[in-house]
Amino acid sequence: MIYLKTLLNVIDNSGAQVVECIKVLRHKPKSFGKIGDQITCVVKQARPQLDSFQNTQSNKVKRRDIVRGVIVRQKAPFRRKDGSVVRFDDNAVVLINKNGDPLGTRISSVVAKELKELNYNKIVSLAPKTF
């Protein structure tokens, strides 16, 4: 159940760590976002930018940026078509651009299987595991 003001973990290497949802896209005002939904969010906490001459870490986003993301894990239990019910321990998001490609180049933890059916194939192939 992701809606206005929900804080989500970012699990890619785009530079953001925690984002806050400000809009669930293509939803009615009173409904909430679930796995596979796109959201607009604000970066609340980002990894510190390294010095310019070292230039080993390239953060694509910084604090207070408005970015788009896709929900990959949710805490609220959701039902699969075979009757099983899945739940994760946190709400997590992967940042994407407007075409649906991920901003980062790496994903650090599991994502839900549902993303494959929703044609987020790039996210699924980057992820170390699906559950």
Partner: protein, 173 residues
């Protein structure tokens, strides 16, 4: 309709003893009772057994949820689906249905340090096999272990734990 003989005789005997006879009307005829359906077995039990015969002909799944000999929360199981995908996890709770196929098993594991849970219907036809990988020597109290989430009693990475166990067994051999 057939008039059966014996009940009428019985009633006539009773009436002769009574002494009072109802003169204005004829006595109503008494028929033999119908045969009980399903040999007198309750409907729900009968349907339940039919469903079990259809969905679990070998009785393996029913054995799993036996309260004495089957699974207990704390065990580690591996669920294999028909498309060869697997889920390994520690049992957190077993929900049992009454005279239906609504049993399900809640398993929990940690994947990349993220706790993930799945509640699997026991009689899902897409499930090929459910295997018990490990039974702990000492169980935690209670049958529903919801309270271990996020505490120091929480499950670890079950997959690596099972791999280590297998490696230990291999070394002993």
């Amino acid at each position: 309709m057939l008039k059966s003989s014996s009940p009428i005789i019985k009633s006539s005997i009773i009436q002769s003893i009574r002494g009072f006879r109802y003169l204005k009307k004829e006595l109503p005829t008494v028929y033999e009772g119908l045969q009980p359906k399903r040999n007198g077995k309750p409907v729900m039990e009968y349907i339940h057994q039919q469903m079990l015969a259809q969905h679990d002909p070998l009785g393996t799944r029913t054995k799993l949820i036996n309260r004495e000999t089957g699974l207990r929360s704390g065990d580690i199981i591996k669920v294999t689906y028909n498309d060869r995908t697997e889920v390994i996890g520690s049992v957190l709770a077993i929900k049992r249905g009454n005279l239906n196929l609504g049993h399900n098993i809640l398993i929990r594991t940690k994947l990349n340090k993220v706790g993930s849970e799945i509640r699997i219907p026991l009689f899902n036809p897409n499930i090929r096999n459910i295997e018990i990988l490990h039974k702990p020597e000492k169980y935690l109290p209670r049958h529903k272990l919801y309270y271990i989430r996020g505490t120091n009693k929480d499950v670890g990475d079950v997959e690596t734990f099972v791999k280590k166990l297998e490696a230990k067994k291999h070394d002993k051999k």
